[in-house]
Structures are given as C-alpha cells and as structure tokens.
C-alpha cells in the first residue's frame, strides 16, 4: 500500500470496517511511514475533539410548543368535518328509512315495484309519437301539402336527370324495359319521366314501359296524377288507354274533368268520354 491509498482508507480504518488483511496492511504501513503517522495522528486528534463537542439541550419551550401543536391536531382529527357530519346524518336517515332485515328489504322492494307499476299505469299516458289531427279541413290541407312536397321532390330528381339528352333518356327507358323486373325506385323514375319529361316521345316510351307494371298501385297512381298536367294530346290519349286497360276506377273523376275542360283537344275529350263508359 502506498501513502495515498493508506490515507484514503483512514475513514474505514477508524470505523473498523476494513477487512483483517487490509487493517494489518495499514497498521504495518503506519509503523514505518512517518508522513502517514503524522496524518493519522492529526485525524485522531480531530475526531477526538469533534466527538467531545458538548451537546446542547433544548429549552422547555420546545416541548410546550410541540405538545400544543399535537393537541391541536389530535382535536382536529377527533372532530369530524362538517361535510362528514352531514354525510353521517344522511346515511343515518336512509338507514332508518330502509328495513335492515333481508326479507323485509325484499318485501319493501316488491311493494315499491307494484306501487310504481300501478301509479304508472293510472297516471302516466304513453307519449304520443306524432300529433294526431282530427280536424278534416286540416287533414286535407296536410294531404295536399304532402302531395306538393312529393311532386316537388320528384321534380328535383327529374331535373337532375334532365342533364342528359333525350335519346339517352330513351335508351335508359329501353334498358328498364329489357330488364323486366323493376323495383319501386325504377318505377318512380319512370313515373317522373312520364310526368315531367319535356319530350313527348320520351313520355310515351315511359308510359309504354309502365304497361308491364300496370298491376302495381304506385304505377296506376303515378299515371293518374300525371294526366291532369299532361299537355300533349298524344300522351293524354295513351294515358287514357292505359288507365282504361287496367280498369282503374279512381281515374273516373279525372276523365270527367277532361270531358268538361274546353281547352282540351276534342279527340282527347271523346276518348275520355268513352273511357268513362267503359269504366
């Protein structure tokens, strides 16, 4: 061991935490090295004086103050907070309200349930899902409004379809005819074409396509609704033939209106008259 290493171990040497071999090595070194002997003696003297420093005693004031603080905390711990008091009261209230025995609790719950059902059935009416209108005048107004909204939506849908040329629209109708089976959406498209398409040929083709589905109420109602606003005598005649062929008795008022309207083509009025007779 060299001097530096020996002096570094002074703390452990003094504390007795060195191994026996290390302690022996330090002791051997100290026997022969005067520098380390002086260092060690200085350490010993310093530690001796340090450890002899007297200990001071605190005054009684410290104890008095401490126990005053402790008493305050103990009291605070024993006194529950206002919130806890309120909670305890609430708990006690519900404890008194509800029976403690399980059988009684079950009976209490059952009574509550039955009472709830009876009260509910007697006093609570199911909420109406929609307002019921009983006034006939209002009903008719609503029906008219509904019809307008429907036709408006059809018009909008059809206006979008109008972006295509007439021959394309005809091809679409031909494609519908070729398909044979048609869903409600396709039929509604055909009815819209019949009602709103500006081309007479397209309207006639649409009516022709609708013949295959004349048995469906949606088609018959569509054709009947389109009849009053139809301006072309050709299409009017075709519509009258269609409605007559399916024996749609609902068409009678429309036919009568046609016969009475002087603005309508004579041939059309005659055809309507005949149709009325056939119906």
């Amino acid at each position: 061991m060299n001097c530096q290493r020996v002096q570094e171990t002074f703390i452990d040497y003094q504390a007795g935490t060195l191994t026996a071999a290390e302690s022996a090595a330090v002791r051997e070194h100290l026997k022969t090295c005067l520098t380390c002997q002086r260092e060690w003696a200085g350490w010993q003297e310093t530690l001796l004086q340090l450890d002899r420093l007297p200990t001071e005693e605190p005054s009684e004031r410290l104890r008095t103050n401490f126990y005053a603080m402790l008493d305050t905390h103990v009291r605070q711990a024993r006194e529950p907070s206002p919130f806890a008091l309120m909670r305890n009261r609430l708990d006690r209230f519900f404890e008194n309200l509800v029976p403690t025995r399980p059988a009684l609790q079950f009976a209490f719950s059952a009574v509550l349930l039955v009472a709830g059902v009876i009260v509910g059935a007697r006093y609570l009416q199911p909420a109406a899902t929609a307002p019921v209108v009983t006034d006939p005048a209002t009903q008719s107004q609503l029906a008219e409004l509904q019809q307008k909204v429907d036709s408006m939506s059809q018009l909008v849908a059809y206006s979008l379809a109008q972006q295509q040329p007439a021959n394309t629209r005809l091809q679409q109708i031909a494609a519908t005819l070729a398909r044979g089976d048609a869903d409600a959406k396709t039929l509604a498209g055909l009815v819209s074409t019949l009602a709103f398409d500006p081309s007479t040929n397209v309207r006639l083709s649409a009516l022709e396509a609708l013949y295959a589905h004349a048995d469906r109420p949606l088609v018959r109602q569509g054709v009947l609704a389109s009849l009053p606003r139809e301006g072309s005598p050709l299409v009017q005649l075709a519509m009258i033939d269609f409605l007559t062929s399916v024996r749609d008795r609902d068409a009678a008022p429309a036919f009568e209106a046609l016969t009475r309207d002087p603005a309508i083509d004579v041939a059309v009025r005659d055809a309507a008259q005949r149709a009325l007779v056939q119906l």
Partner: protein
C-alpha cells in the same frame, strides 16, 4: 504516542456515538420508531409524542450545529414534527424512520438557509464546563480551549460538510443511509467525508497554530 493513538482510536463508530447524549437509546423490547410512525400514519396522531421524546434532542443538536442559533433550532425541530404530521401519508413501509426524519430535517434546514443568511456559529456557553477525565485543572482548561477551537473550525465548514460530519459523528447515521440522504453512492459519501474531515482538521490545526502564536 502515535502507537498509543493507533491502539486506542481504532473502534467502530457506534461506540463513539454511545458516549454522546444525542444517541437514541431504544430498548429492544420497546416498540420501534417504524411501528410508531406506522401508527401515526394510520391516524393515531398522539403517538407522535413518543417519537418526539426520542428524536427532539438529536434534531435540536443537529440544527444547533448547522445554524448556531438556539431559538431558531427549536422552531426548526417543531417544523420537522409538523411536517411529519402533514406528510405522514408519504411514509413508506420499507423505509427506515431515522433516515426519513433526517431527510425532512435537511429539507427544513435548507429552507431555513434559503430565507436566512448563514450566521457564524456562536460559541456554546457550556464549552468550558465540559466534564473531563483530565485530572489537572490546567489540562481541563487546555482541553476546553481546544473544544472551543474545534467548535469554531466546524462552524467555518460549508453547510454540506457540516451536515455530513454532524449526521455521521453525532447521530450515528451510517454511510449507506448517508448515501441515500445525499442521493449519491456510498463511495461518494466516503470521499466527501474524507474531504470534510480533511478540511476540518486543516482549519482546526490552523486555529491552534494561531492561538499558539
């Protein structure tokens, strides 16, 4: 002379501490500090009184050596126990109570020095009344003078070195616990202790030389 010192002074730390009044005398059959603290943490606040009786003197000694002020040291001891109450829920089951309380004490001291500038340590009144085994009055007087010098030398050390020496020499805090307290390795604690003792020795002998001159 050197050989005598070598023979006499080689002994483990605890025997040194046993001779000081600040050692915590705990009867093995008594309830441990740890159990007392667990009771305090569980809500038995009054049990803090037992811990106060065991620790208020060592803590007071610790603060007096750091601050040199008696009244302030009493207030700081009170503050440590207040913080124990306040932070009792943070006490860990695996922790050692003495390490924890000195950890709190160091924090309290640091707060104190943040607010108040360190003062030069006052010389204790009873330094010249230390009972000594020296048979002659002249030897007693010389030793009292040496103690006064040592007190002054300790007071001139930086705070951390004073803390380290005080905790190790007067409070029997071992190197492992010091490492946890100072948040460093055991090796680093020994190096710091070595430097602190070296600095203390240097200042002490310098003061002695000045006195002799």
């Amino acid at each position: 002379m050197i050989a005598v010192l070598t023979e006499i002074r080689v002994h483990p730390c605890p025997s040194v501490v046993e001779s000081t009044e600040e050692s915590v005398a705990v009867n093995p059959v008594e309830i441990t500090d740890h159990d007392l603290m667990l009771a305090v943490r569980a809500g038995e606040i009054a049990r803090l009184g037992d811990l106060f009786e065991r620790y208020h003197r060592p803590l007071y000694g610790f603060f007096v050596r750091l601050t040199g002020q008696r009244t302030a040291s009493e207030d700081l001891v009170q503050l440590v126990f207040y913080r124990i109450l306040k932070y009792r829920h943070t006490y860990r089951d695996e922790g050692k109570f003495s390490a924890w309380i000195y950890h709190l004490a160091r924090k309290v001291a640091a707060d104190h020095f943040r607010k108040n500038a360190p003062v030069v340590l006052a010389e204790p009144d009873d330094l010249h009344e230390v009972p000594d085994r020296a048979p002659h009055a002249a030897d007693q007087a010389a030793q009292a003078d040496d103690l006064a010098l040592m007190h002054r030398a300790l007071g001139t050390l930086p705070l951390e070195q004073r803390e380290l020496l005080t905790l190790h020499r007067f409070h029997n805090i071992r190197h492992e616990e010091l490492a946890r307290l100072f948040d460093c390795s055991v090796g680093a604690v020994k190096v710091r202790m070595h430097r602190a003792l070296g600095a203390l020795r240097e200042r002490y002998f310098k003061l002695r030389q000045e006195r002799a001159a």
